[in-house]
Amino acid sequence: MEEDIVDYALEYAKSKGAEYAEARAQSQVQERLMLRSGILEAYVSAVDSGFCVRMIAEGGIGFASTNKWTREEAKEIVDLAFRYAKVANRKDKIRFAEEKSVETKWVVNQKEKIEDVSPEEKISKFVDIDKSLSSCGVKVAATMSSCTIDLTSNYYVNSESSRISSFVPKIGAFIFITVAEQGKTEQAYEQFGYSGGWEAFRQWNITEKMIHDAKVLKDVITKGKTVKPGIMDLICGSEVTGIAAHESCGHPMEADRILGREMSQAGRSFIFKGGPFWIGTRIGSDVVTIVDDPTIEHSYGYYAYDDEGVKARRRYLYKNGVINEFLHNRETAARLGTRSNASSRSINYDREAIVRMANTFVLHGEMTEEELIEDVKYGVYMKSFTEWNIDDKRFNQRYVGREAYMIENGELKHPIARPVIETTTQKFWTAVDAVSKKVEFDAATCGKGDPSQGVPVYTGGPCIRLKGVYVK
């Protein structure tokens, strides 16, 4: 990364007379392994490196990027961004909420440096997972797995004298399996993610988890019964709690969505000014507190400063069941008369930073998982999910259980095949009457933006119990 060219781009941008300018460079050492049923289809090794400028001029925003590291190219993209900012010709002029300038450098440490791990070892990790699956006593008809490694160096400067350098290694894995038994199939996938080094593999226990999933799918095929649709209690495992927190709390609380900026793609929000829901409105029971926190060390969504140079902190989204704080970047914060809470993220130098989640999860309660189950007379325990989705105002959602069991008189019974909860955000979080002690996280890739920017996040939470919901 040639920082002098980035500095030059900023200085040239400032000389154009823009109201605001920033330059952001990123160099990413990438490795990708792609396997099909234990066969390495391809090993990708590349370095992607480039920089962008973003400018506000006459109340409009222009953004341009390049991966050609020359001063001439820097000048060209500044000219483009400046020209594009001015053609916006907006009635409502864009401005950014105030921020202190920052000069700092931050890094994520690796206990076992990824750079020191040989390609052979990386390959063998995944080949071994497949071997273990093929001898686990379940007929695994096909697997697909991938590993992504990104060693990312960033350099950020803006016209308000901020200058931030960072280095973040991230490692991710994805495994998809198909189990075939008795002429039927069931499928599952698991995603793993970590900010840090190769030590991630020891923590993930991928092989054990995938063998567990294979056995669960076999049980669903051979022993699973369907649930009789009706009103009952539902216990959601941390995986289900986490996806619900992400989809029906994190997304609707993104201020750009609330203000309509994503309206034609990811949509808007059930929260809007003048509507039935706003800050201070109850959306769930008082045992529900959902936070988004980029500062969890080594989490997949970790960062110390966002991509506008704002220091990261925990955000309380729903607090004791009440809508509390939106996710903001500097643009949305200015429009709603507040300060950014460091939610501006970009996946690469060639993408504009937009409002994103980091690690979204339900805070813990006081009960054990066993205590949650003990109090259920008739219900379902949905430990994990398969199909899920939510509408674009983030109000009507559906989760279909992957590993699920019937609960009768406080005891877990037989497996349930694909139980479904299809309900609204308000009904879901209002029905929660108890929350367990132990919080667990899952890695995920959150999609938003056009072109799409899949950002690494954690979803998570404890087990939660919903009283009297419709399950089918």
Partner: protein
């Protein structure tokens, strides 16, 4: 131009000289422009200049891939890539890259799409057309995207090709009320055929008709799918015909070759021809792209292949090679024999759906999935709108929907939208019987 082709060829020569068995290098000089707008105003205008050479090489059936971003770092990158190949693991199913010399058609890319002077003009053309439909209370958002790529491909196995690929697309979503919206797109490979006002007018019309929606009712309905939402379904079926997805069981078409998967009236093709956003003369192995009939009068005739998957399935490549796995380019459904109006008249009582998003599967081999219709959702009676609806979900099966196609319009629209109607398609109005609709409880 020749200079870039020569430099791309140099990469292949260097890799061969270092010991690679087979090498492909593809250099793309891309200029991409985008205008994003919401609340009837431009939020940001974006320019990306991207210069990249994708390199795939094989050494003793070990396949490794890299990207080179400037021609000065070639020696080091290729050397490193070959070292990686030597410690990598053999893929016994690797069938080599495509062999032979091919003649390609001439590119019809539109040079004017290299860098539009005033891209925001097209946005306001669409907004103004929408406003004529919904009035001054209009709230609209969307994107205008343009692409111009110069592509240079050299393969050690023979293919050498130069292509230029242009595209322009506009996506506009229009709200007439908080919960009443319409969405439409306009997609073209040339500026001459690009009519943004058409998209604005259609999105505005749907938004106007969608006013005062009520929560829909669960049930089983006959449904007319607008070309935009049907484009989403075409995208789902198309991705399931990639031979790689078949092998990893991300497909409802596993073991269904030469079987009836749809009624007689269904003919489905992959064809990245000149009009398409995905236009291209050759695939990533240098094989000329072509029209492939995937479903012929209801019978599944082929999966989409690169050279390796074709060998596994004992057939020939279909010209769908991506750098590693085969991919669909542009899906076309043959037109039917009904006018659009006849399709609607056929709907005695049912739904007209215009758009959807968030399609997710429980099980790809079984095909069970759900997706969430958005924008105009209409309860129809004898071809007329009886009521505007909201808050419903299609909870059905990908194979059942294909099997239950009962009518296809003569009219087709070239559609593409975000990741939801992707890859691009040439999509008609389609009547599907017995579609399962669910809702929140």
């Amino acid at each position: 131009m020749n200079d870039v082709l020569n430099k791309t060829g140099e990469i292949v020569k260097k890799a061969k000289a270092l010991g690679a068995d087979e090498v492909i290098a593809k250099t793309t000089f891309g200029m991409y422009r985008q205008v994003r707008f919401s609340n009837n105003q431009v939020d940001t205008t974006v320019a990306w200049n991207d210069y990249v050479t994708d390199v795939a090489l094989a050494w003793k059936k070990r396949v490794v891939v890299t990207q080179i971003h400037n021609f000065y770092e070639v020696d080091a990158r290729i050397k490193k890539l070959l070292e990686l190949a030597k410690v990598s693991k053999e893929n016994p199913m690797f069938g080599g890259f495509a062999k032979g010399s091919f003649r390609y058609a001439k590119s019809k890319a539109d040079e004017r799409l290299r860098d539009l002077e005033n891209p925001t003009d097209y946005v306001f053309e669409a907004i103004n057309a929408a406003e004529k439909e919904v009035g001054s209370q209009i709230d609209s958002g969307g994107i205008l995207f343009t692409k111009f790529e110069d592509v240079y491909l050299v393969s050690s196995e023979g293919p050498v090709g130069v292509d230029s690929r242009s595209a322009i697309e506009l996506s506009i979503r229009v709200f007439s009320e908080r919960e009443a919206s319409g969405h439409s797109v306009e997609c073209s490979s040339t500026l001459k055929d690009f009519k943004p006002a058409k998209a604005g007018m259609k999105a505005g019309e749907i938004a106007r008709l969608a006013k005062n929606p009520k929560a829909g009712d669960e049930g089983v309905y006959d449904v007319v799918f607008d070309p935009l939402i049907f484009g989403s379904l075409l995208g789902v079926w198309a991705s399931m015909t990639s031979a790689f997805n078949v092998m990893v069981q991300l497909s409802v078409f596993v073991n269904k070759l030469d079987q009836k998967v749809a009624p007689e009236i269904v003919v489905l093709k992959d064809n990245p021809s000149a009009y398409s956003l995905a236009n291209r003369l050759f695939d990533d192995e240098g094989v000329p792209t072509r029209e492939n009939v995937i479903i012929d009068h209801g019978v599944l005739k082929t999966y989409l292949h690169n050279t390796s998957t074709a060998k596994i399935f004992k057939t020939e490549t279909t010209g769908n090679a991506g750098l590693v796995v085969p991919t669909p380019w542009n899906i076309e459904m043959n037109p039917g024999d009904m006018d659009k109006n006849e399709i609607f008249k056929e709907l005695k009582m049912g739904l007209y759906l215009t758009n959807t998003w968030y399609t997710r599967f429980q099980n790809y081999t079984k095909g069970d999935f759900s997706t969430i219709p958005r924008d105009g959702i209409f309860l129809m009676e004898k071809g007329e709108i009886r009521q505007s609806w909201k808050d419903i979900r299609i909870s059905d099966n990908a194979l059942s929907l294909l099997t239950n196609i009962a009518g296809i319009s003569k009219e087709r629209q070239h559609v593409h939208w975000w990741g939801e109607a992707d890859p691009p398609s040439l999509s008609p109005y389609v009547l599907i019987k017995n579609v399962h609709i669910t809702k929140s409880k």
